[in-house]
């Protein structure tokens, strides 16, 4: 046993005491508490939730792109049908309609769809005899306008045709896809709702985990308080742990989600369908998806911060 006079302990000077609060949230806080680990599955729960959000976000963005692409392709397109059972009269009125349409302002291109092309289009439904004249098929004219085919344009074209071509029917092509657009919009809202629900679930999981972690370390926290630790010093340690585990979950979840999205993209690309080709993800979309794990980590940190702050407020 050392019997020498006791060493006078070191005393932090006033300047250090002033700095202590600043130091509290920094590296010096690191060894103060055990790494407040969440219960084992929490990083994986976060990973699964983030993967779901990534998939939902990618789905929503894809649907949005699909709708926008289709809308852009068809927004200026108009179809004129000349409904006349007599083939000669139909051909004559079709030609007249092309003449009238070509002379109209705001029309970029007019194309009378050949009968053979129409027959080929209808063959899947009417069979090989679709073009033999047994079933009267309207003459079909594709019109491309210089602007959008809004109701006013449709009315103007209809009025111009009515005088010269009785029985002509004018439709904006985008009208045919309106129910599809509505369905796509509904799916987008569904994706948004899923993202919101998963964000809530993430916050709830972190809240539970942070509460459990705090309860497990309560005695240590109490000792730290009695030794002069500030709330900032204590919560910094917990938040560091949350950050580490949430970041791990976010990275794993983002990788899983992005992998799933990529695989789905490959599957749809293999369909080689005109409809799905407009739904590809651009750079901005991928950046948005990249923000999902960051958002997840922020939600986790914010939730943990609030949870720990509330728990600390309950202590003296």
């Amino acid at each position: 046993m050392n019997t020498a006079a006791p060493p006078l302990p070191y005393a932090p000077d006033a300047a250090e005491a002033e700095l202590s609060v600043a130091a509290a949230s920094g590296a010096k806080a690191a060894p103060l508490l055990p790494a407040a680990r969440f219960a084992g599955p929490i990083p994986w729960v976060i990973a699964i939730l983030i993967a779901l959000v990534v998939i939902a976000a990618a789905g929503g963005l894809t649907l949005g792109n699909l709708a926008n692409s289709a809308r852009a392709d068809l927004s200026a397109a108009v179809t004129v049908q000349v409904i006349e059972p007599n083939p000669d009269l139909r051909n004559q009125r079709g030609a007249e309609a092309v003449r009238v349409l070509t002379a109209l302002d705001g029309v970029r291109a007019v194309r009378l769809v050949p009968e053979a092309e129409l027959a080929a289009l209808l063959e899947p439904w009417l069979g090989a005899g679709a073009g033999n004249g047994d079933v009267p098929i309207p003459a079909l004219i594709d019109v491309e306008l210089t602007g959008a085919a809004g109701p006013a344009e449709i009315a103007r074209i209809t009025a111009a045709l009515n005088a010269a071509v009785p029985g002509a029917r004018v439709d904006a092509q985008s009208d045919w896809l309106r129910p599809v657009y509505d369905a796509l919009a509904a799916l987008q809202w569904l994706a948004l709702g899923l993202i919101a629900l998963v964000a809530l679930a993430t916050a709830a999981a972190v809240w539970l985990a942070a509460r459990n972690a705090f309860a497990g370390a309560r005695d240590t926290v109490e000792i730290m308080h009695l030794l002069g630790a500030t709330d900032r010093q204590i919560s910094a340690v917990f938040l560091r742990s949350v950050l580490r585990e949430a970041a791990f979950g976010a990275v794993v979840g983002a990788a899983l989600g992005a992998g799933a999205v990529w695989l789905l993209g490959q599957q749809f690309a293999a369909l080689d369908s005109g409809m799905t080709s407009g739904g590809g993800l651009g750079l901005a979309d991928w950046l948005t998806i990249g923000a999902v794990p960051l958002g997840g980590v922020l939600i986790a940190l914010l939730t943990a911060r609030i949870t720990i702050a509330l728990a600390l407020k309950g202590m003296l």
Partner: protein
């Protein structure tokens, strides 16, 4: 003109109860002055630990007023408590070492919380552990230390930041008589050389004789008695220098 030194602690008609139970401390009024050495005695259940909890800010009183270092504890927001706690050194009855930290890191805690740099922490903690005879156990965690060793770590932690007031709850209960005397000498050194106010709760009457300049406060059923004049001003030591009761 009142030439009394500014008090370290002033209790005014303080009472403490836990929940709806009867008061464990009643009508406590006393003042602790800087540089004094107090023993707090009383039988088990007299309220010593409860009184110490009030002193080391683990508990707020149910009634009455407490001032510490010139500040009103009753109205003080909790955000300002850490600043006061850093002026205190506490030896808890059951040591309350942080279980996952080594002896070294436990002793270093108050310095780290106060923002001391690693170099100074290393020197101060190494010296202190050496002095309490635990240099060779610096990297042991509390669970592997004996009761006496844990107590010495707790005492080293309490004094390492040179507190303005040292509060110790039965600090020599688990150590041999030689070590008990040695630890008391440490408290005295802090008291005499640094001016630390020392409050030691004990029921060991032999301990009281070891510190001649000490003052005695006695608790009985939650009430404080003043048999030796410790609570008057100027406070009168319980025994003259040189020993004797």
């Amino acid at each position: 003109m009142d030439d009394r030194p500014a008090e370290i602690v002033k209790f005014d008609n303080v009472g403490l109860r836990y929940g709806t139970d009867p008061e464990v401390l009643s009508n406590l009024s006393f003042t602790l002055y800087p540089g004094s050495f107090y023993f707090l005695t009383g039988a088990s259940g007299a309220g010593k630990t409860s009184l110490l909890k009030l002193l080391y800010l683990a508990q707020r009183p149910s009634r009455g007023a407490i001032r510490m270092f010139g500040q009103d504890l009753i109205t003080m927001p909790r955000e300002r408590l850490p600043d006061l706690r850093r002026r205190l050194g506490v030896v808890f009855q059951n040591f309350r070492l942080v279980p996952h930290l080594t002896a070294f890191d436990n002793v270093a805690l108050p310095l780290r919380l106060a923002g001391a740099d690693d170099k100074r922490v290393m020197k101060a903690v190494t010296d202190m552990l050496d002095w309490v005879g635990l240099a060779h156990r610096a990297h042991a965690i509390p669970a592997t230390l004996s009761g006496g060793e844990q107590q010495r770590v707790a005492i080293a932690r309490a004094v390492i930041a040179r507190p303005k007031m040292l509060i110790a709850d039965e600090p020599t209960g688990n150590v041999d008589p030689d070590m008990a005397l040695k630890l008391l000498r440490l408290f005295e050194a802090l008291n005499h050389r640094v001016g630390t106010t020392v409050v030691v709760a004990t029921h060991d009457v032999h301990l009281l004789k070891k510190v001649p300049d000490s003052l005695i406060m006695r608790l009985h059923k939650g009430q404080l008695s003043d048999p030796t004049g410790a609570l008057r001003y100027p406070p009168r030591p319980a025994m003259p220098k040189g020993g004797g009761v």
